[in-house]
């Protein structure tokens, strides 16, 4: 349907969150990562021969975290991808709890969908593990501590390409 609008349609979370936290009395806005350039690595072999991994910002399901609605420590982890977990811990993450839910893990961590593509030979295989990386206020921790660990796990698992799903 052809429409005309005097505004952009997609939500700017940078604008929205800045105004929201300012209204809560936080005078110093969060400064988001910005880069003028972006690195790029082409796929080195056909997709049908690639082992594909998944990275999520969701946490492991733990009874203590579930009871408290938050994790004591947001940790990096690698977990078995098969069978796919039926639940993940998302209560302490930044998502729209008024509009949707995260009861279907494949809506944000699509291990079952990826397995279907492996069965159909669209990809070579799914990595034996998937990887969890916490969203962190500190961009330094993400870049210097978390990202190198994810890379190391991917190399151990023979991963050729990665899907990163940000909740």
């Amino acid at each position: 349907m052809n429409q005309r609008r005097p505004y952009r349609s997609f939500v700017s979370y940078i604008d929205r969150s800045r105004e929201y936290y300012a209204a809560q009395g936080y005078s110093q806005p969060y400064t988001w990562a910005h880069h003028d350039d972006a690195p790029f690595t082409p796929l080195k072999k056909p997709l049908s021969e690639c082992r594909v991994g998944l990275v999520t910002t969701a946490g492991k399901m733990e009874a203590e975290a579930e009871g408290q609605g938050r994790r004591k420590i947001r940790e990096l982890y690698a977990l078995a991808a098969n069978p796919a977990p039926r639940r993940m811990f998302t209560a302490d993450l930044f998502w729209d709890k008024g509009a949707t839910h995260t009861d279907d893990v494949d809506s944000f961590l699509p291990l079952n969908r990826l397995s279907e593509y492996a069965a159909a030979r669209r990809i070579g295989s799914v990595s034996a593990r998937f990887y969890g990386v916490p969203t962190d206020y500190s961009q330094g921790r993400t870049s210097l501590r978390d990202a190198p660990q994810i890379l190391e796990w991917c190399r151990e698992d023979g991963v050729d390409a990665l899907l990163l799903s940000a909740l």
Binding site: S17, F40, D104, Y137
Partner: protein
């Protein structure tokens, strides 16, 4: 998540980010991005809609194979349906301004108490 993707790309690992916060991912700058214009929470398709999830993951795989330069964004064709979430999420207006200010005070108070206590690490959520 975008910073992790950048590190992996810099070290020879092809990546594709799936997400619904377009401005955050594009400001950071990633190699490949599949954008679905949904409320935050289901970047790989609506809950229980396996057909949609299959399509979005397929788009991500296509992009892995076919993108030839960084900052390639593909937007999937799906609509959430009810569009009220666009204005409702993190809304600030006269109806909630006072409540938000109070909630901020309360949160800072709790954080100060937690620091005195067992020292929860405060990550940005």
């Amino acid at each position: 998540m975008s910073l992790v993707a950048r590190h992996l790309e810099e070290n020879g690992m092809p990546t594709v980010v799936l997400g619904s916060a377009r401005d955050i991912v594009e400001e950071c700058g990633v190699a490949r991005f599949v954008f679905t214009d949904f409320p935050l929470g289901n970047p790989c398709g609506k809950p229980w809609d396996t057909k949609m999830q299959h399509s979005i993951v397929g788009t991500a795989l296509d992009l892995l194979a076919r993108a030839w330069m960084p900052r390639t964004t593909v937007q999937t064709p799906f609509r959430w349906g009810n569009e009220e979430w666009r204005v409702a999420f993190m809304r600030v207006d006269d109806s909630n301004r006072e409540a938000l200010a109070r909630a901020g005070e309360e949160r800072r108070h709790q954080q100060a108490e937690a620091k005195k206590g067992d020292g929860y690490r405060q990550g940005k959520s």
